[in-house]
Symmetry: C2
């Protein structure tokens, strides 16, 4: 059973404005939901078409038709949950911090969050025009990683102007990544899918680095931003081993 006001609330969460207003986001499917519960996120509601084992007041059994009304998926799963945004402890000040300047594609952001989780980058800093990390497509792609990586949206100019460690940026025509020893105490910036790092941020980079291209440089498309980020983080991490 689901009330009209619950339907209204949940469908509103497909928009960032309402997610921010409530401090809530939705997640779908038992696997994704149970990962967030295990990570200790606050569960607001859980709606499921399966038999309810748990008699908690936040659990509600609903029909497939009701689930269809609140689902963001083309083919709804068996359950949808609403969680409060995870709380993190604010900006940390050590290790490698990844900075995203204007990433637009939810799939790319999702892949990058999983990469941060894999490589132990616990903080991801995003420009304010980067796609929202609680966008339903990002949530479904990242699963538990979203709860383990602290994601901060902030003004990058203000942040980077105050920094006194190396700021690396992935650009075209920079120094070869393989000839640069990345410092463990640093920021790594990657830019928008079409336009790369904005001019304003580019002027704040201390090191402009490039992933060397071995194919025919006249024709090859640039690397996808998520695969470029994978290579940059791997390179930073390998240096902790050598």
């Amino acid at each position: 059973m689901i009330s009209k006001s619950q339907i209204k609330l949940i469908t509103s969460l497909s928009r960032k404005k309402y997610r921010d207003q409530h401090g809530f986001f939705s997640a779908e499917g038992p696997k994704v939901i149970s990962e967030f519960i295990e990570e200790g996120l606050d569960l607001v509601f859980l709606f499921t078409t399966e038999m309810l084992k748990n008699q908690s007041s936040v659990y509600h059994q609903i029909t497939p038709a009701e689930l269809k009304k609140i689902s963001n998926l083309t083919t709804p799963n068996t359950s949808l949950a609403v969680f409060k945004f995870p709380k993190h402890e604010g900006l940390q000040h050590n290790g490698i911090r990844l900075v995203l300047d204007g990433i637009q594609d939810p799939g790319n952001l999702g892949t990058i969050i999983r990469l941060c989780d894999w490589f132990g980058v616990t903080q991801l800093i995003c420009s304010k025009d980067t796609v929202d990390c609680y966008n339903p497509k990002v949530v479904q792609a990242t699963m538990g990683s979203l709860a383990r990586v602290e994601i901060v949206y902030t003004d990058l100019v203000t942040l980077l102007e105050a920094v006194n460690v190396p700021i690396y940026g992935g650009v075209l025509g920079g120094v070869s990544l393989y000839s640069e020893k990345l410092m463990q105490e640093s920021y790594i910036v990657v830019g928008n899918e079409g336009n790369g790092i904005s001019e304003e941020i580019k002027s704040l980079l201390t090191h402009k680095i490039t992933i060397p291209q071995y194919g025919d440089s006249q024709k090859t498309e640039s690397l996808n931003v998520a695969t470029a980020t994978a290579i940059l983080l791997s390179e930073a991490m390998r240096l902790t081993e050598t």
Copy 2:
């Protein structure tokens, strides 16, 4: 103007069976189409809703309604072209060859083809159960890269049993990628999204390698296969520089 038999042919190309039967695939949008033309692929038909400048017999002006009938896109572009499969010179025998064992997702295959193009890997060898590289989603994602990388579907066991250079495979629990010096004359195998490399192929690997994980190993999802491939290829290429 488009005939019924042309519509039937073109819509049939959304299925691998008919692509293979005709040796044709379709591509949509002026940018993608012009890249294939520049790469020298044989153009069979071009249908466009724009004013025709070229009076060649393979160019046909059509209405948006006709384009909608033949398009694979939710929002059709202005043009759709049919090309013959590119001809390549058969298996090459030097450098790094990337081997895919059962990749299922067209987006992943597309990203991997672009990576090959970037890193100058001119040959990509796929198991017969890997998603078809002329799948419309792969074509749209890879653009010209698809014409520049030779893609071969073959029986991996037969191929790898005959090989006498190192065969690296990305697995869980192998030797750290960063402690292994990848040979320039070698095969690199990556496996299916859910199950990794099949047991039969695993037994043919000469080196089992793993991208070290720095996050909480109990919880982190495995890396996406395209990002893992990016890291493996970058690592192989960096060694040509050092």
